[in-house]
Subunit: 370 residues, 2 copies
DNA sequence: TTGAAAGCGCTAACAG
DNA sequence: CTGTTAGCGCTTTCAA
């Protein structure tokens, strides 16, 4: 770990600041207490609190007052134990690689934010969990130990088989990612192939012919994007050059290195299709460092339309994934499954957002943010 | 909600795909079942699983086999109910404004990632919760309803008073943010004033005199950064110009607008100190859109050293906050509080990372990423 | 070394 | 409308 912290100040001791109630940690008031004070039974309180119609309005009011004044809250743990539900769903981020800087891609954060909103709207809690490679069993545990009612996996990465197993066990599960043939689990994701195809076709339309594919093809979504890339080239009668197929992980640093070595390797190319905006941005940096101009010498297109894409310099042309509907859909489908309703995978349409980095001549007006 | 999804495919029905065990949803195996199979009592299983030394090794082995083969997992809900602990901690993101795009700043994500790691290392779960303005009571509920053992708030934003109340109730709570005088709760955060002061001093050292402060002073951390800004100016004998004090929210779009109107308002300045990297990046975009060069015409310094800062164009000079130690510290302090040990606030040192955007002449070598 | 019994705080029949 | 009675699945005395 890094160096010791520098300054230290405010002290938090267990002494109660002023003469406040020195209530012990176990001192929380329980339903029984409320019942006693209201002169009724626990059951009545329970009913009153759950809005049952079988309670005298007067009684309910009396109870409510007590509840408020003592700021009593039902213990969800006990409630869940009894009712068999947890009112919690897990969002799992399967890590792609050993020690990728945690959840670093802004795209994830945007999606996560929307998921969090949707989950909250349902009145559920959200458990966030990072799961290392191979350990899909960890996901099952979350359900088996009664911690959550269902799972949302962000990105199937290399966990495909593990996810299949979960789905086969009929655990409520929805995955953000690619729609694979024959898969047993439900996914929500953008139309990766079509999105990529359109992006690459756009580059070709700008007169580019030697287009680099920058991304990790082992991840299903990226493989589909690669398919789109190939399809677009084929449609234009261009033979894909394996030398322009550059694998890279998602971290900025990795992308930078990959791009650098491509350039230094003497490859010739006039465009780059990157599998994510973060990768695209790193690529641009590498290009500029080597004295290449974007988009004049090399046009670049990314994927995601992360917030920052519009603000980059040059502003990034990219394939937008709609994280807002995506997030909400993930949650809605999951709740449908929890409710026992059958669900099916959804593929979201993508949109090509053309900005400066792909070399389209535009006026002085900056293509704004979303 | 947006338009309807496009394509749909794989169906997830309740029918068990192949001849797998059509185990009902309640069909999970319980401790009692294991006990019966092992020919011992529930208590023994419990002891065996918790590593109690009062169990015959042979018995323990027999139980373990059963547990593994049935992939039995202890129900943490019941366990928690009995033991009074939840093994879960909450990370709360107090929202700054009504509908700021959820948790959009990459800085938060980086910090969150590290917190998640640290929490996982302790074997705890992490509940993610977004709380709207003013509703600090929501945080208390998390503890009162027995959902979590403690709270980590990321950014005090405008929730200061609410946090005070929580601390006064002696709930385990650690806050990422500014260290305010007399505050009752424990914080971890960077030395905002010193960091900002150094950044601004750096700009002054580059010969800049008219330096814009770009950020929201209502947030405690930002106010401290403003203090540092003023201090640096004062040290150089520069009178702060109120016209250069530009408030803006944290979203890229807001920063862009703020900067634009400053420029169009005809203000003259030769540098910008932005309260976050995201803001800095938007500011640069605005400057360039108006034909100003960075750093030649206007030098820019950000705050955070978000991953992308090194990759921006021009690479961003910024004040690095160490999210790795910060995250870990937040968690360690929280666990100390949960264990009943007294804790004190910590102020982390910052580091000024000088890159191209502040106009320092450097060779062809790019200041690399971290 | 093990088992029996008593709850953790709550809900849900089943009787009034 | 309300109270009584059983547990939800686990841990933990207290005895054996």
């Amino acid at each position: 770990m890094a160096d010791k912290p520098a300054i230290a100040a405010t002290t938090h001791s267990d002494a109660t600041p002023d003469g406040a109630q020195p209530r012990a940690k176990t001192g929380a008031v329980k339903m029984d207490d409320i019942a006693r004070m209201a002169g009724v039974s626990k059951s009545t309180v329970s009913r009153a609190l759950s809005g049952s119609p079988l309670v005298n309005e007067e009684t309910r009011a009396r109870i409510q007052v007590l509840v408020d004044s003592h700021s009593y809250r039902v213990d969800t743990r006990a409630q869940g134990l009894r009712k068999g539900r947890t009112h919690t769903i897990a969002v799992v981020i399967p890590l792609l690689h050993e020690h990728d800087q945690p959840i670093s891609d802004p795209f994830f954060l945007e999606l996560l934010g929307h998921i969090a909103d949707a989950v909250a709207d349902h009145g559920y809690d959200l458990l966030l969990s990072k799961i290392g490679p191979g350990r899909a069993s960890g996901m099952a545990d979350l359900v088996d130990t009664g911690r959550v009612d269902g799972l949302i996996a962000i990105g199937q990465s290399t966990a495909h088989l593990g996810l299949e197993r979960l789905a086969d066990r009929n655990l409520p599960l929805v995955v953000w990612g690619a729609q694979l043939p024959e898969q047993h689990y439900v996914t929500v994701g953008s139309d990766n192939k079509a999105g990529a195809e359109r992006a690459v076709a756009h580059l070709i339309a700008q007169g580019r012919r030697r287009i680099v594919f920058l991304g990790q093809r082992t991840v299903p979504e990226m493989r589909l994007r690669h398919d789109g890339y190939v399809a677009a080239l084929a449609a234009a009668g261009i033979e894909p050059d394996p030398a322009l197929d550059v694998p890279t992980r998602f971290a900025s640093a990795a992308a930078l290195t990959a791009m650098r070595s491509l350039i230094c390797g003497g490859a010739t190319f006039d465009a780059v299709f990157a599998c994510s905006d973060v990768i695209a941005i790193s690529a641009i940096r590498a290009l500029q460092d080597q004295g290449l101009r974007v988009p004049e010498d090399v046009a670049v297109v990314g994927y995601d339309d992360v917030q920052m894409a519009a603000f980059y310099n040059p502003a990034l042309t990219t394939v937008r994934q709609d994280t807002a509907t995506g997030g909400r859909l993930l949650v809605d489908l999951l709740f449908a499954q929890i409710a026992g309703r059958p669900t099916r995978s959804v593929m979201l349409p993508t949109e090509l957002v053309v900005r400066a980095s792909s070399g389209v001549v535009s006026g002085t007006t900056t293509p704004g943010p979303r």
